[in-house]
Amino acid sequence: MSEATGTEMMAKGSRVTDGFDLYFGPVHPGSGNFGVKLTVEGERIVAARSDPGYLHRGFEKLMEYRTPIQNAVLSDRLCILESLNWNLVHAEAVDRLCGTEVPERAQCIRVIMAEFSRIQSHIIWYGVLSKGLGFDTGFKVAFGYRDYVLDLFEFVTGGRVYPAGYICPGGVRRDFPEGTRRRIEDLLVTMEKMTRGFEAYDSNTIAARCRGIGVLALDDALRLGATGPVLRACGLAADVRRDAPYEIYGELDFEVPVREEGDAFARSIIRKREIEESIKIIRQALARLPAETLPPVKPKVAGKIPEGEVYVRNEIARGEAAVYMRSTGEAEPYRCKIRGPDLLHMIPVLEHLLVGAEVADVPAIYWSLNICPADMDR
């Protein structure tokens, strides 16, 4: 470790950069509310220490004081970038505890919305990765396309980023408004156009900056707890949607993209392939959508959660998300443990990948993991 901090060394006018502490975040465009302290020797990183906690709001504790319908709204905030997926994990935990049979139409709507949430989360990732690599066009194109998805979210849920617990225990808060099917079909065509556009960029900037960078071996990935696209880029085709299906995923036909290289470029290819798979899933769910309309879910104000415990796992855009919920028969859960993929990706995995890397490769490694400080800190 260093003897003097970077600031002290700069104040002294030192030109020696061995043992220099370099802070990447938390005040950095795109890093999110999260930082990592790098100790560098010249251009080489010799130590990395993640510095989380800037977004710690104590959700697990807050949920012990709130009813499921209030917690559904709270679950939006678990990850700003994919609120609907987190809605779904929470709602499923309550449904399983209560033994609620969710109507098939509601299940289809849940899957459609969760998959759109995955698509727009991957688009954000594409945008911030491009931005991190200095490829501003990619950032602007991606965020432009993301807005089309947010338009649909606003139309269906009323909220663009936070759907206010749209996927809630028992089903969804309201049925698709009239004209939603047409909008979804149009949006899917736009998304397909977008994926073709992204292909064109792969061969230049992203490939040049990401290929062979931040290589994660499969045994390291398992030891460090990587899940989702990060794990699939190392050669293991694991996906909760296929391995332990929930909702209607077991009846849908989709592929789990997998790559062997384990580098930042492989992770980016996986996410782009996943957008295509999500489009396939939405088409199938839309075709299965039963015709009858759904009665709106009325929140049970005095409802109690039956005594019991569940551990529910879902596949969200970043990896494995899970909720352990324990109820003692009260209206509020006694304990609600939230397991997000980013606690693992942003501390053990990131620290492992950064040691030995060059300073110039930090953005490629950092954003290839598709970080979200919100679900890490909770």
Partner: protein, 172 residues
Amino acid sequence: MADVESEQRRAELLEATGLQFGLEPRVASDGSVWVSVGEQKLGDLLAFLKHEGLGHCSAISVTDWPEDGAFELTYHLWSYEDRIVVTVKSRIDRGEATVDSAISLWGPSAGIHERELHELFGVTFKGNPDLAPLFLESWDGPPPFRKDFDWRAYVRDAFYEEGDRRERSYWD
């Protein structure tokens, strides 16, 4: 989890756990396996399950039961090959709150959960070299996720003014 192979594998695992440890694992309606174990046998059971292919430590959690004077640890494990989820539960003394680390079995993926639980519940994991604070800055109060930590009183005292007209309702 309907496929035949994982059901077979689960049945084998249930039998082996019962025979070796004299425990009675429970299968929930969603197919997940739940097993409670005493503190003395916890390490052996976890090592056994790791050896049986539950290679992914999905999460470790603590539930606080102050009336029973106990912390309940839950280890949520997943097998990528057999597609089985197993939860191991074990109660430890709330006053002592020390347990062996699972870092030798699942590496840093278990270590990071333990680091979080050490900060938020005050449970010490023996053998984990890094239990440094994770989220809280300059915090010297009790572990805040314990049931007996009154966070409402803390927030009111630390952040609200009794004399402030708009914040008065928090003091009623």
